[in-house]
Symmetry: C2
Subunit: 261 residues, 2 copies
Amino acid sequence: MGTLQAENRVGTLRLETVPEPKYWHLKTVLTEALDSEFAVGEVLPNERALAARFGVARATLRQALEQLELEGRLQRRRGVGTTVAPPRVDVGAERNGWPGAPGDTWNPVDCALAVPPAAVADALGADRDEPVHIVRRSRVSHGRPLAAELLYVPQASVPELTAIDAPSGPARARAVLRELQHLELESQDRAVELGSARADDAKELDRLPGAPVLVVTTRFFAGGRTAALSAATYRADTCRLTFGASGGVEIHHDDPARRAS
Amino acid sequence: MGTLQAENRVGTLRLETVPEPKYWHLKTVLTEALDSEFAVGEVLPNERALAARFGVARATLRQALEQLELEGRLQRRRGVGTTVAPPRVDVGAERNGWPGAPGDTWNPVDCALAVPPAAVADALGADRDEPVHIVRRSRVSHGRPLAAELLYVPQASVPELTAIDAPSGPARARAVLRELQHLELESQDRAVELGSARADDAKELDRLPGAPVLVVTTRFFAGGRTAALSAATYRADTCRLTFGASGGVEIHHDDPARRAS
DNA sequence: AAGTGGTCTAGACCACTCG
DNA sequence: GAGTGGTCTAGACCACTTC
């Protein structure tokens, strides 16, 4: 049956163990091609053409492309095509101080008062049916969305906040952040794990639901409690999270529009 | 049980957008089932049976399982089956001080003198064809492999090391680490990104090649240079990397009797 | 030998973008 | 409407583990 396999046996090769999966070999070949023959932003031939050229089924070709996209080498967009991705962006994931403090690079999007997921409520030490402020923020670089954040703030952490302060939207988000600064931040901790984008995050990140994301969970401690909890989802294909002293200090151009209005 | 498909066709509703992909819906259903009806370690029905039960092709079912494995909810092993995964392990990825310093949780495996990848050579500020010490180490928890590390140490960083010290294997690895401690560590920085396991790492991590991993790159600075570089690959499905002050603090995981059949 | 997940195929149709 | 990537199918065979 499979005379296709015949091509694999070049001469008297001692293949020792594994017959390498086709998609794996394909990925290697494509990687080398990307390194040597393609420029960033260049569009590749479409999937059907590539599959034909390599003599594999489209599904197999896609398995290779999938991995390359995961590794940040390619970018695929439905209805458009597959392009060579630029190197990953170094983004500082180490934030010291409260969200919304001066120098913070996140943009408030909106804010709602709602019951958080059970896991969040537990981490906040709150009742599972107690509503908290949920601030949405986003982070962009060079016009491209990098990350989406949900910041959970118990009402107890911002007691002075009144409904009159700001009815909704970004204004309300800013109000919550402003109130947060009044607390004394004792410490914080962070965790990074792999996740897949929920539908809403995916939309904000310009990806399809299920896209791989790096989830950075930060707990903020004040007054002996967990005063706030942040869950930031970064595009795993385009982002490289930096921590520590001399991390990604570069790429900071002046940001003139950062005055309170 | 889900004959939820029917809901999509309700009358002339302006459901606006999305026909939810089957695998996505499937993933949701399975997630709920895992939360409510399965215990950690329990084996699921095999893929053909599950696909039949849900009335989808096996490939579609697999797409859902793949995501659940990515999220650390499932563990699949060829020739064995699919089991419910335990919660992710919190591993401290913040290491202060030299590799091999007291308290370090890594186990030396072996050591070789070889030319590193070009990117590593560049980061070390060394010639691309200059061999460096490459120390392999591994990290395990509860008997399960968590991470594999390649530590690149230029010969200039360990000038006192002689071939006589230790010919090869773990002993030589320990010798290199011991010599490292003589340098004064000025600073270090870290970066985390998503990658896929190379063949050798995959083997050590008990995964298939291409498995998703969190790659933690650490640069160690001493004497005004980059004195060493570490690339640690953590299993993305089972690990959650923690940083920051109170990293070791346990989460309130109230998991009361959650057993069912 | 039996049963599992992993790879692969050759189709089909759908959702989306863009000229 | 043409062209792209995204989803889905119904098969087949392979590599691996276990009995």
